[in-house]
Amino acid sequence: MSISGRILLAGVAIAFASFLSGCGERSQVVVYKSGKYQGKTDTKPWDNDPQSAPYTTSKWTRGDKTSWEVAIKARNQNQNEYQRAQ
């Protein structure tokens, strides 16, 4: 290959590399995805120790969602005066 051909090839390679470098730009701002929560994760209420809750009558097994829901539904009946009056 002639010298001019090598120079041309090197020029094309540099141009191609420069062109590709534009694709590698990293976003410098937070990318918000529509409909996707971006904040911190929250803990589940049933993951708490029922013994640590002050002044509560609800009892559930720590980590057991079903038992927590049963306790909440039982407490919900306190708002039903027809049942409380019985």
Binding site: Y37, G39, D42, K44, E69, K73
Partner: protein, 208 residues
Amino acid sequence: MARMKFLADAERCIECNGCVTACKQENEVPWGVNRRRVVTVNDGVPGERSISVACMHCSDAPCMAVCPVDCFYRTDEGVVLHDKDLCIGCGYCFYACPFGAPQFPQAGAFGLRGKMDKCTFCAGGPEKDNSKEEFAKYGSNRLAQGKLPACAEMCATKALLGGDGDVLADIFRTRVLKRGKGSEVWGWGTAYGKPDNPQAKPPQGAKS
């Protein structure tokens, strides 16, 4: 699966604002912010109705849809919460909400608008449950203590119900069936049912 909801019985609400006070006290909500309020229509005329209004924790919440920073999330129990560390206080959620639930603390000069604050169904927020940080940002986390929202549990006439939607529907259905509904759809009889002996008269006390 529990779906936490509020249900307000306009026939029973006596506009005592006990729910508003309970919310303020439980969550130590700052001045100028009302997570809950009582709205009265036809005030002072027969047939007036009052209803307690706060965030209704919509299943398809418009606040979540319009938030430009996606700071809202819905818990497994169906409670709509948000991360105050992300909130930019733009107010879009206030425009989108049909209930006017989002509130913005205004303190400092030039009407400075702070981060959005709203009813959390007494479920706190994305911080360690029942921690000081959670209480300072979001208020009390009663669900993590096995309790239900203070407003509903404090309501004297049980006009405001709060809890699992299925249970609330059962309670309200029983109530409506017991009290009936006729032409006189306003007043004590409609709200609490007819007395057992309508002809009974109060005892006449001797005058002193």
